[in-house]
């Protein structure tokens, strides 16, 4: 279990996962990005610029909040919430875009592209592009454009162009395909801000590093507020950026249990889900080797989740390595549990979580009983739920028109 935090290696592998499986046209751009990042990440001026943006533009640090009524509800461990929902734009996604836009600037790129599922990464990208006055294009599955219409409008208000993607399953994976095609075509002047710890090296590393501020704050806050590191940290996992961000600074703390929660959709047994770590096989998609939902011929299979942000057949390669090494455990909760959990948290704590985040909360039903009242569990509240009101209403059979 040693040295998990020294990964990836120079070829971009976390154990057997990761790598750079991309068309030749992209190889040079990935190398250029890797070199730029290696040079800048320890540069004091670059670090200072990011830190200042995180404080003054994003609103960091995000609080570590004691969820008193939720704790009473489960009458087990003390439950704490890492409030990434309070960040500017409403989710952890901004931590990454604030960093990557500075890389784009350093590389002299004038045009920004990104994929988005729930729209949070699209909003976070359009936000930082607007702030620097850069042209911005967001690719989004046509199905997601429909179910996340509020975020689509936010992205447009921020001056970015939204491209609805009709191909394939018209969700996040197809948005990624289309963003990659754009990048291959406009490689000279375009910077691709990938939104999760997925894609070819160096993206899984860069996105993790920019989100790791969450885990670093938690190290400090947990000592300040309950005088120890958490006994367990729970985060939802689609591509897995919020989970990687909060897990990474604790990889070498073997007493801290790390629990990722995938989307079981209509149930793991139904096959209609988005839980590759629970029910997938290693494969290669979007530039990296990782667990993948695929059939016996290596074709990627359709996923299902009530949450657009988790509706993705792959997962970041570092999570695959954490699973195989046993350092993190990955469970899955289904759509119904998620909606129930959304209502529970909203009523008990006055916090409306994103449906992605509600997966992490729903895990409490499965695991809270394993902990005692002197133990501390932290849930990463990766985003707020305003964007999901329409979906929740539909699930509840209520019309908002």
């Amino acid at each position: 279990m040693n040295n998990l935090s020294n990964l990836p290696n120079s070829d971009g592998f976390f154990g057997e996962y990761g790598g750079k499986f991309v068309p030749e046209t992209l190889m040079h751009a990935l190398k250029e990005l890797d070199e730029t990042y290696s040079k800048l990440k320890n540069n004091p001026k670059f670090i200072e610029e990011i830190d200042q943006d995180l404080v003054q533009f994003v609103g960091r640090p995000s609080p570590l909040y004691f969820a008193k009524r939720l704790t009473n509800h489960y009458s087990g461990p003390q439950i704490w919430l890492k409030r990434e929902d309070l960040n500017h734009t409403g989710a952890h996604k901004i931590n990454n875009t604030v960093g990557q836009i500075l890389l784009a600037k350093a590389m002299g790129k004038k045009r920004i592209i990104a994929e988005t599922g729930a729209g949070q990464h699209g909003v976070a990208t359009a936000t930082v592009a607007a702030r620097l006055g850069l042209e911005c294009h967001i690719y989004m599955g046509a199905k997601d454009v429909e179910r996340q219409s509020l975020n689509v409008y936010r992205i447009k208000l921020l001056g970015a162009e939204v491209h609805a993607v009709d191909s394939g399953t018209a969700t996040l994976k197809d948005a990624l395909n289309e963003a990659m095609r754009d990048w291959v075509t406009n490689i000279e002047d375009t910077y691709y801000i990938i939104g999760s710890v997925t894609g070819p090296h160096p993206y899984p590393m860069i996105v993790r590093d920019f989100n790791a501020i969450v885990g670093r704050e938690l190290r400090k806050q947990s000592i300040e507020q309950f005088s120890q590191y958490p006994d367990a940290i729970i985060a939802c996992v689609g591509g897995g950026s919020n989970a990687m961000g909060i897990f990474y600074p604790f990889l070498e703390e073997s007493n801290v249990e790390l629990i990722g929660v995938e989307a079981a959709g209509s149930g793991l047994m139904s096959g209609k889900h988005a839980a590759p770590l629970n029910d997938g096989e290693p494969g290669i998609l979007h530039g990296a080797k990782s667990y993948l939902m695929q059939d016996e011929n290596g074709q990627v299979i359709d996923t299902h989740s009530v949450s657009a942000g988790l509706d993705y057949p792959g997962v970041g390669p570092e999570h695959s390595n954490l699973k195989d090494s046993g350092r993190a455990n990955y469970i899955a909760v289904d759509d119904k549990e998620v909606i129930d959990s959304f209502h529970l948290i909203t009523k008990l704590e006055g916090i409306m979580p994103a449906l992605e985040t509600a997966h992490a909360f729903a895990a409490l039903d499965h695991i809270a009983k394993n902990y005692t009242s002197n133990q501390h569990i932290v849930i990463n509240v990766s985003g707020r739920g305003d964007k999901d009101i329409n979906t929740v209403a539909t699930m509840d059979g209520i019309s908002l028109d």
Binding site: V22, E24, T25, H28, R181, V184, T185, I187, G283, N297
Partner: protein, 266 residues
Amino acid sequence: MEYPLTRLDEKILSLKNASKKALVAYLVAGDPDLDSTLELMHGFVDAGVDILEVGVPFTDPIAEGPIIQAAHDRALKNNTSLTKIFKLVKKFREKNVDTPVILMGYINTFLANIKALEESYVSGSDAVLIVDIPGESDLKNIGIKNTNLASISLIAPTTSKDRISKICDNSSGFIYYVTLRGVTGSSNLNISEAESNINFIRSQTSLPVFAGFGIKTPDDASSLSKLSDGVVIGSSLVEMINNHSRKKEFKKIYNYLNEISKAISL
């Protein structure tokens, strides 16, 4: 020790001896169906095609433009799998023993069928062209072992000079030069850039260099064939196949290939 020449080596040698430019044609297996693919493969050869590139459909073909993407989708709806494609090639070999067949696709479908892939040389396939692996990677290191298949690598306008020599060292058969920045079927062909890059590749390898991506008209083919050892035609064929697939009347496609074939031999 001398190795026996493969079918691909022999074809390339005979083109060289005849000072002929190669015409490589791409189609997607199973679009509109596997029987048509077999018919088209023979028809292509009769129309002057030297090497066949058979596309293996994948759900997420990130290097393809909309025309070839749609063909992949159609082929997948017909449940076209790599194992069925191996059978198709075997059938093709019943009537044709000298036209090389290259399987072009994405790494995940090949890895899912490793065992069949390792036996595919026996059934008549000659090479693989895997779009989403780095050109310098050895097939053995990514899990494809014990195969006699040649590995065709792509070199793009953005490939750096030091990587070009690495890729050339690792290649067999021929080098596939991507003539543009973009996906298949794009229209931003850059002939002068292609010329200087192909010249540099030639300084690094004795393998022939073929040019592809974005070649549509006999004129495109003619000007690129002057700079290279051959051309690859893809999207325009796939589009024509789709336009004629309902009646399965493919004569127009063969006429088009005939024109291209003439244009590159001028």
